[in-house]
C-alpha cells in the first residue's frame, strides 16, 4: 500500500478505481472481519458455545414441531439431520443479514473518519457468519455420527452451494445495509425478514411437500434453491434437486447480488454525509 500513487478525487469517481481500491484495502477488510470474530467470541459469556447451542436448539424445536406434531415426512432420513442440513445455510443467511444490515450504522464513526471502500464493511460481517457456519458444519458431523448416517461423495458439492448462499446473503446484505443508512427504520424490517423467512423457506420441512403446480413459484425465494442444494449434497437422493426451480433461484440470487452492488455503489457516495 505504500507505493506512490496519484489519487484523483472527482465527483462520480470512476468504477475501475473502486475495484482496485477494494484490492488495496484487502488488509483492512481482513482486520475488520478478524475484529468482529474476536469480539463476537469475547463479548458473549458463553462465547463459542453460543454458536453451538443456537443451531442445535433450533433444530430440536423444529424437529419436535414439524416431525412429532405436524408429522411431516422426511423421506427416510432422520428428521433432525434433514432439519439441520437446511439450518446450515439458513443460519448463515440469517446471521449475515442481521449483522450486515447494521454494519454501516454500527461503524458510523469509522465511516465519517476514514476512507475505505464501504463495501468491505458488510462483506466482513458475512465472513464472520462464515466462521459460525464452519462451527455448525462440525456439529453436523457430530449429529451424523450419532445417527450413524454415512454421507456420500456429494458432500464435495457443498462449497458450491455455500458460494450460492454467500452471494444471496451478501447481495441482500448490501441492499439492507445501504437502505438502513438512508432509512433508519429499516432495521425493524430485518428481524421480520429473518423470522418470516424461517417459515417460508423449507427449513423445518422438505420443499417436496409444496404442491407440484406451485413448486416453481416457491423457488422465487432464493434460499429455497440453496437449501435444496444443501439437502441434496448432504442427504443424497432422498432429496432430489428440482432443477428448473434451482436455476430460477440461482438466477434471482445473481440478480439480487448485482442489483445490490449497483445500489450500494450508488448510495455509497452519500454514506458519510447521511450516517
Amino acid at each position: 500500500m505504500a507505493e506512490q500513487h496519484e489519487i484523483v478525487i472527482k465527483p462520480g469517481m470512476s468504477v475501475s478505481h473502486y475495484w482496485r481500491d477494494i484490492w488495496r484495502y484487502r488488509e483492512l477488510f481482513f482486520f475488520l472481519a478478524w475484529r468482529d470474530i474476536l469480539v463476537r467470541y469475547k463479548q458473549t459469556v458463553i462465547g463459542v458455545a453460543w454458536s453451538v447451542l443456537r443451531p442445535v436448539m433450533t433444530m430440536l424445536v423444529l424437529t419436535v414441531v414439524f416431525s412429532k406434531i405436524a408429522k411431516l415426512p422426511s423421506n427416510g432420513v432422520p428428521y433432525p439431520i434433514m432439519v439441520y442440513a437446511a439450518l446450515l445455510p439458513w443460519q448463515f443467511f440469517a446471521n449475515s443479514l442481521a449483522e450486515s444490515s447494521s454494519s454501516l450504522i454500527n461503524n458510523s464513526n469509522l465511516l465519517t473518519k476514514v476512507y475505505f471502500p464501504r463495501m468491505i464493511m458488510p462483506a466482513g460481517t458475512v465472513i464472520v457468519s462464515l466462521v459460525d457456519f464452519l462451527i455448525s458444519i462440525a456439529i453436523l458431523f457430530g449429529i451424523m455420527a450419532w445417527y450413524r448416517y454415512v454421507p456420500d461423495i456429494r458432500m464435495l458439492f457443498i462449497p458450491g452451494f455455500l458460494a450460492l448462499a454467500f452471494f444471496a446473503s451478501f447481495g441482500v446484505g448490501l441492499w439492507l445495509s445501504a437502505l438502513n443508512v438512508k432509512y433508519r427504520d429499516f432495521r425493524y424490517v430485518v428481524p421480520f425478514i429473518v423470522q418470516f423467512g424461517l417459515y417460508i423457506s423449507p427449513v423445518g420441512f422438505s420443499s417436496a411437500i409444496v404442491p407440484k403446480e406451485w413448486r416453481v413459484y416457491y423457488f422465487l425465494n432464493p434460499m429455497v434453491g440453496v437449501i435444496d442444494g444443501f439437502r441434496w449434497a448432504i442427504l443424497g437422493d432422498a432429496f432430489p434437486v428440482y432443477w428448473p426451480g434451482f436455476m430460477l433461484s440461482t438466477l434471482l440470487t445473481i440478480m439480487i447480488f448485482i442489483g445490490g452492488v449497483m445500489y450500494f455503489r450508488n448510495m455509497e457516495r452519500s454514506f458519510a454525509d447521511v450516517v
Binding site: M1, H5, I9, K10, K113, F116
Partner: protein, 433 residues
Amino acid sequence: MSAIITVENLGKKYHLNHQKSSQSYIALRDVIAEKSSLLGQRMLRPFRRASLEGCPKQEEFWALKDVSFEVKQGERIGIIGRNGAGKSTLLKVLSRITEPTTGSVRIKGRVASLLEVGTGFHPELTGRENIFLNGAILGMGRAEIRKKFDEIVDFAEIEEFLDTPVKRYSSGMYVRLAFAVAAHLEPEILVVDEVLAVGDAQFQKKCLTKMDNVGREGRTVLFVSHNMGAVENLCARILLLDKGSLCQNSNEVRSVITRYLNWGSDKKYLPSSWNNTGNEYKHPVLQPIFFAVADEQGEPLTAAVLNDRPLHVLIRAVIGQLDPSLSVGFALYNEDSELLLWSLTTDGPENAWPKIEPGIVELRCALPQRFLNEGVYRLELNAGLHCTEWFIRPTYNSPAVYFEIRGGLSDSPYWMWARPGLLAPEWKWERTV
C-alpha cells in the same frame, strides 16, 4: 518541487432538509406516507399538479465553493476559518471520506488523517489487537505494523498491559496508545483536524511536536485549528476559508491571522487611540494631545492582539509649568467596566519617575505580556496633581481607548483558551520541599 496536492474549483453541496419532523434521519415510514399522500392527491385531482406542500423543502447549501489551491511537498499549511466555513468539509474531501460535487483534487501519495485519534479502537480487544486494527484503519499494512510494533509499544509505555482489553485502560493509557499508533504512520500527507481540542496536555504537546517533526522530514501537513498560536507556530502558509470559499492563501501567516481575528467581530469599532482635536482638557500644567494603546512600533492597534505581544500605552501631552506632584497615568477596565488597576508615573520610588519638563512629553508604559486574560479592555487617561487636583479623572471626564486580547495566552499545553478569572498571568512556580 512539484505540487503534491492540487485542488481545482472544488465544490461540495449539501441539501438541507426542512422537514416537519425534527428527526435527523429519514424514516422510510415518512417517505411512504408522503409518496402515498401525493399519489392520493393526484388520483383525486388528476389535472392539478401535485401540491408542493407534501414535499419536504430542500435548500441547497454549498459547504465549499470554487476552492482552488496547490500544496507543495513538505509544506505545512494551516487552514483557519469560523465554524461552518468549510474547513472540515475540505479535509473530508481530501481524505476521500466524502465526494465533492464539483471540481477535482489530485493527490500524490498516501493521506493519513489524525481526525480524532483512536478511531476504531474496540474496547473489548486487547492493546496488541487494537494496535493492529487501528494501524490497518489508519492505512498501514500488516507487515508495516509488525515492523513498528515494538516501537509503538515503547512509545505508549504499555508493555505490561499489552494483553489487557483496552476497556480496562486508564484514559491516559488509552490516549497514549492511540497516539502511538498514529504517530508511527508514515504518510506523505498528514491531515490534522483539531486534535488539540481532545486529549490531555501531554498528548497535545506530543501532537504538536510530532507535527513539527513530520514537517521537517519533508512530509506535508494540513492543519486545521482554532488555536491561532499553534497555527502560527507550525504553519508556513495559511488558507483562510469563509462561507465555503477560499479568501486568503498566503505566506504571511501572521497578518492573515490578525486579519481573521479582527474580522467579523460585529461589535462597533472601538478606537485604540485618542487625539485631542479641539482644545479639550486645557490646563496650565498639562494638556493631553494623544493617548493610545500601541504595538512595538508605536502604531495604535488595529486588531485584536495575542497576549504574548508587547503592548504599550502612549500618552503625549503639552506640559506648561512644572509641578512636582504631577501624576499621569491610566486606569484599566475590563469589558464589564470593572476597574482592574491604576498605573501612574509616580507609582515607583521618586528616582524612578520619568523626568517631566515643560514642552511636549511622550510617556510610555509597557503592559506586561501574559498578564491580562482574553477580552476587551478599556483604558482611561488619568492626570492630576497628587491629592490636590484632578485634571482628568477616570470615569468622570476621561478619554477612553480600547484594545482586545485574543489568543497567545500561554505556552502551557493546558491553556489554549481563555482562563477563568479576570487575569491570566503566568507566575513562577517552584518546589521548595
